[in-house]
Amino acid sequence: MPAIFPRWTNHIPVVAGLLAPLVGAGLIFAVWYWFSPKFTDVGYRPKQPVPYSHRLHVSDVGLDCRYCHNTVERAAHAAVPPAATCMNCHSQVKSTSPRLEKVRESYNTGAPIQWVRVHQLPDYVYFDHRPHVAAGVGCASCHGRVDLEDVVELKEPLSMSWCLDCHRNPEPNLRPLDQVTNMAWDPAEHDYDPNKDPMRKRKVQPPTHCSGCHR
């Protein structure tokens, strides 16, 4: 009488036993790697309506972030500048450049330039620039080296664990209070100790309780 199952079926338990953990591990890896904001969010670099370059304006012309994002020390939101701010200079320099057509149009008509937003937290998260800038967390710690980018790119995942990693141990990310907008300031080159800085009146205490960020 011939066998009901052919001979090769004898391997099934072995192969399945070997494959199952591999597939399982592969699935876990895939979720860990690809479902993370480090994959889904980081690297977002939308095309902007005006080819504005931070590299040119910050590194080359030497503008401070606050010249344009002037509310960053005063409000939760770091305002993206209106066309009038650009026109301070561009009514004088490159005043006929076709690349600045949209800026001139916006300045003359009052219709806003439709910049594409890059950094955006979910609406249920409360974020405020003020305490961070006042505590001496550099723009570069959260936005990367914007001054070297021609197009702004999302460099950090802006995930909850990213916030908490810093909130639990903020000290390595603190810098002297007057270096916040200095993108080239490298913590590795300076052994800065926030506890010994006479400009600091108190120890920083970032919230790690839920209602700190979900209010």
């Binding site: 391997h11 072995v14 192969v15 070997l18 494959l19 591999l22 592969g26 895939a30 790697y33 690809w34 993370s36 904001p37 480090k38 994959f39 889904t40 969010d41 980081v42 690297g43 977002y44 670099r45 939308p46 095309k47 080359d60 012309v61 030497g62 503008l63 401070d64 606050r66 010249y67 002037n70 005063r74 409000a75 939760a76 939101h77 305002a79 993206v80 209106p82 009038a84 701010t85 026109m87 301070n88 200079c89 009514s91 004088q92 320099v93 490159k94 005043s95 009052g110 219709a111 806003p112 439709q114 955006q120 979910p122 609406d123 249920y124 790119e153 999302l154 007057d178």
Partner: protein, 225 residues
């Protein structure tokens, strides 16, 4: 065992295919981030500077209707808001609420370096970096040490920052009013510094080395003109 090596091959092959089709972390992309929970991430409210299709001009942030004044913005203090005294002439003093001290000047210096130095440079000579690039300015920014400007009352500098002057546009939207006075005070300080002689420096400070922070604000090559 051949079965095991082929399994490893399959695993390596599969992950290569996966990385190849899905991509690695941090690759620049124009595709927006993925939001699984749309309704919680984007709630029925508007963030600052968000567009709102309901209004004709598409802005969620509304401008105050014409002829109305927001609370706290009546600006009836002529000295503070317009730099003018009761006689309508430009004043030569800080408003009563603002005290001249080290803090004010430090603030003024910092704000001057942010908002004015790109064009007027750190010393106020009018040769800032923005005017040296891309073909230069059609009208060169003024040297703040000109005799005409050195003789101007303090209120004049406040007024220029607030209302603009000639081809220089207004900075009222970018700089809050107290900071404008701090900058005006710093402009005065710069002017005095350029007319100072060695005998104005206190004896014990004459041979002190220049602090690093100040050295960075020194005149650009070519010097003050």
């Amino acid at each position: 065992m051949p079965a095991r090596t082929s399994l490893v091959r399959v695993a390596v092959g599969l992950s290569a295919v996966a990385f190849g089709t899905v991509g690695c972390r941090g690759i620049p992309s124009e595709k927006p981030p993925i939001h699984l929970q749309q309704n919680m991430d984007f709630q029925q409210r508007f963030d600052p500077q968000e567009p709102n299709p309901m209004f004709e001009d598409g802005r969620a942030m509304r401008l105050p209707p014409e002829g109305t004044v927001p609370v706290g913005w009546l600006m009836e203090d002529d000295h503070l808001w317009r730099g003018r005294g009761p006689d309508g002439r430009l004043v030569d003093a800080l408003p009563p609420g603002i005290k001249l001290d080290r803090k004010l000047l430090d603030r003024g210096q910092e704000r001057f370096n942010i908002y004015c130095a790109p064009c007027h440079d750190h010393l106020g000579t009018g040769r800032g970096m923005a005017t040296r690039r891309g073909g230069g300015f059609a009208v060169q920014p003024k040297n703040l040490h000109e005799p005409r400007l050195a003789a101007m009352p303090l209120g004049y500098f406040y007024k220029v920052i607030t209302d603009g002057q000639g081809t220089m546009l207004s900075y009222a939207a970018q700089i809050p009013v107290e900071d404008r006075w701090a900058i005006a005070a710093w402009v005065r300080t710069l002017q005095a510094s350029q007319r100072a002689s060695a005998s104005d420096v206190p004896e014990e400070a004459r041979n002190r080395p220049v602090p690093k922070a100040l050295a960075a604000t020194r005149a650009p090559e070519g010097g003050a003109s």
